[in-house]
C-alpha cells in the first residue's frame, strides 16, 4: 500500500492522511480552490524526495510539489492525488560571497536566503511580498516577481542552475546559458513551469550587492488618474526606479486600519511608493526627475523617507496590503494582469467603472512600474449574489486587460485559477506547443496534472492514459 511505503521512507509522522490533518493542504493562499489530497508526504532529505518520487512513479500516482502554499493561482492543490511537501528541505547548501551565488534546497524561505547573504553585503533580489513565507522552490516554479523586480528582474533573471528530479526518476542538471556554452535554455523553460515539469531539488541563484544608497519617496495624489499618468511619465522618461508601487484609496484605508499602518494619508485617492537605489552619485538627479514629473501630473505631496525605520514602515504597509484587505471581509479575490505602462490611466478608469457598475469593492495595490495590476475584491463568498457580481467583475477586468494587449498573469501563475483565460491569449497551436514542452519533461503528466493548459488543447491528450486525477 502506497501510504505504508511512503511511511517507510520518511517516517510515519511525515505522511498525513487524516482529513483533519490534510485540511491545511486543501488550498493555497487563494481561497476558492479547495481540493482534498489523498495523502501529503514530507521528505526531509534529497534522498527521501528521490525515493518518494520513485515510489509514486511505480504506483502510477500523480503528485503536486508544494512549497509554503502561498501561491495565488490554485497551483499547489491536489485533487485526490499526493501532495509532495518540500518545506523540510531548508538548507542553504553553499554561499559563495566572492562569486555572489548561493545554492539552496527548495524549501528555503526567500527572506531566509537574504538573511544568510546579509553579512556579506548581498541579498537575493526577487522579493515577493510574501517573502517571509514563500520558498525558493515555489518562487522558481512561479517565476515570482516582487516590487524590486522592476529594476533587478524576476526570478528567471536570477536563477543560474538547478538540479531537477523528473517524475520518472531522471535527475537532470539545468544551467542558464553562458557565453561559453550553447544548448537549449531548459533552465529558462523550467522557471515558471508551475510544478508541472518536475521537482527542483536544489537551486543556484545569483546574489546581488546591496545598493550604496536607497531613496524612498511617497507621492500623494488626489486622483487615481493623476497617479497612473505619473507612472507612465516616469517610465517614458527612462528613469528606472528599483520599485514603483501604487495603492488606491480603499487599500490605503485598509492598511491604515490594520496593525501595519504606514502613515499613508487617508484622504488620498492614491499613493505611489517609488524607490531609487544604486550608486550614491547620480541618485539625486533621478529623484528630482521623479519628483518633478509626479508634481507635474498632480501630486499634492511628495515626501522622502527620513531614515531606515521610516522606509521600513512605508514598505510594511505595501507588503502587508493583501493581508490588510483580507481582514475587511471573509474572502478576497486577487488578479494579476499586466498591461502596457502607457495605458495605465485609461485602464484603471475602466476598472473603477466595472467595480461601480457591478457594485463590488474593487481595490488596487500593484507593481505600477511594470504595469502589473493586482485588482482585488474583498467579499463574502457565502453571499451568492455578491459572489456572482465579484466573479463577473473579475471576468470583465481580465477581458479588458487582454483586449488592451496585456497578459493574464505577471507573476502569480496560471494554476487552476486562470486556465479559463488561456485560450483567450493563445491559439490552440501555441497551447499545444506548451503541452509538448511539458511532455519532454513529463510525458505521463504525473507532476501537477490538470493545471496551466486546459487539456483539450493538447494534441496527444487522448492517447495518454489515466494521468489526470
Amino acid at each position: 500500500m502506497l501510504q505504508r511505503e511512503l511511511e517507510a521512507i520518511v517516517g510515519e509522522r511525515n505522511v498525513l492522511w487524516r482529513a483533519s490533518e490534510l485540511l491545511v493542504y486543501e488550498n493555497d493562499a487563494l481561497p476558492g480552490y479547495r481540493r482534498r489530497p489523498r495523502l501529503a508526504v514530507f521528505p526531509g532529505t534529497r534522498d527521501e524526495v528521490i525515493a518518494v518520487v520513485a515510489a509514486l512513479w511505480r504506483a502510477g500516482m500523480p503528485f503536486v510539489p508544494r512549497g509554503a502554499g502561498t501561491g495565488l493561482s490554485g497551483g499547489a492543490v491536489a485533487d485526490d492525488i499526493v501532495v509532495l511537501g518540500l518545506q523540510r528541505l531548508k538548507q542553504v547548501l553553499a554561499l559563495n560571497a566572492g562569486a555572489r551565488t548561493a545554492t539552496v534546497e527548495p524549501g528555503v524561505v526567500n527572506a531566509t536566503l537574504t538573511k544568510a547573504a546579509t553579512p556579506f553585503g548581498l541579498h537575493y533580489a526577487p522579493d515577493p511580498s510574501s517573502q517571509t513565507a514563500c520558498t525558493i522552490g515555489g518562487n522558481v516554479a512561479e517565476n515570482a516577481g516582487g516590487p524590486h523586480c522592476l529594476k533587478y528582474g524576476v526570478t528567471l533573471n536570477h536563477v543560474l542552475a538547478a538540479t531537477v528530479l523528473l517524475p520518472n526518476g531522471e535527475i537532470i542538471a539545468l544551467e542558464a546559458p553562458r557565453a561559453d556554452r550553447a544548448g537549449y535554455d531548459l533552465m529558462g523553460a523550467f522557471v515558471g513551469s508551475e510544478g508541472c515539469f518536475g521537482v527542483a531539488l536544489d537551486v543556484t541563484v545569483r546574489l546581488t550587492p546591496n545598493p550604496e544608497q536607497v531613496v524612498t519617496l511617497l507621492s500623494v495624489f488626489s486622483s487615481l488618474d493623476d497617479a497612473a499618468r505619473a507612472v507612465s511619465a516616469v517610465i517614458a522618461e527612462g528613469v528606472l526606479p528599483s520599485a514603483f508601487e501604487m495603492m488606491d484609496n480603499p487599500t490605503i484605508r485598509a492598511v491604515e486600519a490594520s496593525i501595519y499602518a504606514a502613515g499613508y494619508p487617508l484622504d488620498a485617492a492614491a499613493v505611489l511608493l517609488t524607490e531609487l537605489d544604486g550608486a550614491a552619485a547620480g541618485i539625486a538627479e533621478d529623484v528630482q526627475i521623479v519628483e518633478r514629473l509626479s508634481r507635474a501630473c498632480g501630486a499634492t505631496d511628495v515626501r522622502t523617507a527620513t531614515d531606515a525605520a521610516d522606509r521600513a514602515r512605508l514598505w510594511q504597509g505595501r507588503k502587508k496590503a493583501f493581508g490588510a484587505l483580507g481582514r475587511i471581509a471573509p474572502d478576497l479575490v486577487v488578479q494579476d494582469a499586466v498591461v502596457p505602462r502607457t495605458r495605465l490611466a485609461p485602464i484603471l478608469a475602466k476598472i473603477a467603472e466595472i467595480g461601480q457598475r457591478l457594485n463590488v469593492r474593487l481595490c488596487n495595490v500593484f507593481h505600477a512600474g511594470d504595469g502589473n495590476l493586482h485588482p482585488c475584491i474583498p467579499y463574502d463568498a457565502s453571499d451568492a449574489d455578491e459572489s456572482a457580481r465579484v466573479h463577473a467583475a473579475m471576468k470583465e477586468v481580465m477581458e479588458l486587460c487582454i483586449a488592451e494587449g496585456g497578459s493574464i498573469t505577471g507573476e502569480h501563475g496560471v494554476g487552476s485559477d486562470k486556465m479559463a483565460y488561456m485560450d483567450r491569449l493563445f491559439a490552440t497551436e501555441s497551447l499545444d506547443a506548451m503541452c509538448r514542452l511539458r511532455d519532454a519533461f513529463d510525458a505521463e503528466r504525473r507532476a501537477n496534472p490538470g493545471k496551466v493548459i486546459p487539456s483539450r488543447h493538447c494534441r496527444e491528450w487522448m492517447s495518454v492514459r489515466g494521468v489526470e486525477a
Binding site: E142, N143, G153, V154, L156, N157, L166, I172, P177, D180, R181, A182, G183, Y184, D185, L186, G188, A189, V191, G192, S193, P209, I235, A236, E237, G238, A279, A281, G282, I283, E285, D286, V338, P340, R341, H367, D370, G371, N372, G405, G406, S407, G410, H412, V414, K418, M422, L425, A427, E429, S430, A433, M434, R436, L437, R438, D439, A440, A443, V452
Partner: protein, 305 residues
C-alpha cells in the same frame, strides 16, 4: 541546392509543413552574416531565406517595448529606437547588418550583455514556426508575463533547430544621458585586477572588454588595452570616471566608434563549437517534440537523431 525566399509567416508555415511531410532538410538563413562553417552541412538541403520577413510591427516608446519581424536588421532597430533616445541593447558580437531574428535565435551576446542583459533577458515574446509547420506564439508584448510554459526562453538560443523565429518582442532601455568610451592600457601592475573590481562595484561600466596582441591591433589600439564604456546620468558618470582613473592613471578618452570594429574583431573567438550541445536525453526529447523529422538546420549541433 535550392533556395526558397519567404516573405510571410503563412508561406513559411506551408513550406515547412511540406518539408516536414517529405522529410526535406531545411537550412535557415536570414541576412547570411554568419560564417558558412556555422551552418548545417547536410547535402540536399533547401535553403530557406527568411530575410524578407521584415519590419517593425509595434513600437511604443512610452512602454519601452518593441515588436519586430525576424528579418529586420539590427541597424533598422537601432535607427528607429535612437530617434526616441532609446535602444535595444543587443549589440551582439558581429555587425548591425545581421538580423534581429538570428541574433535572438543564436542568443548572441555582446559587450553590453553583462550590464544590460542577454537576449533571453530582453525577450518578452516570440512567434515562430516549428518543424511540423505549426505557427506558435509564446509570451507577449508586456514586460512581465508568466502565462503558460515558457516557449520564449526555449526558442531564444535554439539556433533554429526547434523552430524558425518570425517575430520577437523585446524590452528596450533609455539611452544613458552620458555615454563615453575610454581606453585603458593593460600595462601590467595589477590593472586587469583593478578593472575586474571596478566591474563588480557600484560604478560598474556599461561595457569592459580586453584586447590583446593581434586583436588589439585589429581594433586599432596601439598596445594591449581594455575598452571601457561608462553610461548613466551626469552625476553617475562623473563618479564612474574618477573610479576608472583610480583603477588606471593611464585611462584616456577614446572614440566611441571603436565599438563597431571591436564587435567585429571579437566575433571570431566567440563562435564556439556547437557540437554536442544538445545530446542529453532531455534535449533530444525536446527536439523530438518540435522538430520530429530533424529537418530544421540538421547537423548544426552534430546531434544524433
Amino acid at each position: 541546392m535550392t533556395t526558397t525566399s519567404i516573405t510571410n509567416v503563412r508561406d513559411l508555415a506551408d513550406t515547412v509543413r511540406a518539408a516536414f511531410e517529405d522529410g526535406t532538410p531545411l537550412r535557415i538563413t536570414t541576412c547570411g552574416t554568419w560564417p558558412e562553417s556555422l551552418r548545417s552541412v547536410r547535402s540536399g538541403a533547401t535553403t530557406l531565406d527568411c530575410s524578407a520577413i521584415t519590419g517593425i510591427v509595434e513600437y511604443i516608446p512610452g512602454d519601452l517595448t518593441l515588436t519586430a519581424r525576424a528579418g529586420t536588421t539590427l541597424a533598422e532597430l537601432e535607427e528607429a529606437t535612437a530617434r526616441h533616445g532609446q535602444w535595444c541593447p543587443l549589440s551582439p558580437w558581429g555587425t548591425d547588418a545581421g538580423s534581429f531574428g538570428a541574433t535572438m535565435a543564436t542568443a548572441t551576446r555582446g559587450p553590453l550583455t553583462t550590464a544590460l542583459g542577454a537576449p533571453r533577458d530582453l525577450a518578452l515574446g516570440i512567434e515562430c514556426v516549428d518543424g511540423t509547420g505549426a505557427v506558435i506564439r509564446g509570451g507577449g508584448r508586456v514586460v512581465k508575463n508568466v502565462a503558460g510554459f515558457d516557449l520564449t526562453r526555449l526558442m531564444v538560443g535554439s539556433w533554429g533547430t526547434l523552430a524558425i523565429l518570425t517575430e520577437i518582442s523585446v524590452r528596450l532601455r533609455a539611452r544613458p544621458a552620458v555615454d563615453e568610451t575610454w581606453s585603458v592600457p593593460l600595462d601590467g601592475d595589477g590593472v586587469t585586477e583593478r578593472l575586474h573590481v571596478l566591474r563588480q562595484g557600484v560604478y560598474a561600466p556599461l561595457a569592459c572588454e580586453m584586447f590583446h596582441g593581434a586583436a588589439a591591433r585589429a581594433v586599432g589600439l596601439s598596445a594591449d588595452a581594455a575598452l571601457v564604456r561608462l553610461g548613466g546620468n551626469a552625476g553617475f558618470v562623473a563618479a564612474a570616471r574618477s573610479a576608472l582613473r583610480t583603477a588606471s592613471t593611464n585611462a584616456a578618452p577614446h572614440d566611441p566608434a571603436v565599438w563597431t570594429r571591436a564587435r567585429e574583431v571579437h566575433a571570431a573567438p566567440v563562435l564556439q563549437t556547437l557540437a554536442g550541445a544538445i545530446d542529453r536525453p532531455l534535449d533530444r526529447r525536446v527536439k523530438a517534440q518540435f522538430d520530429p523529422r530533424h529537418i530544421l538546420n540538421p547537423g548544426l549541433f552534430a546531434e544524433s537523431a
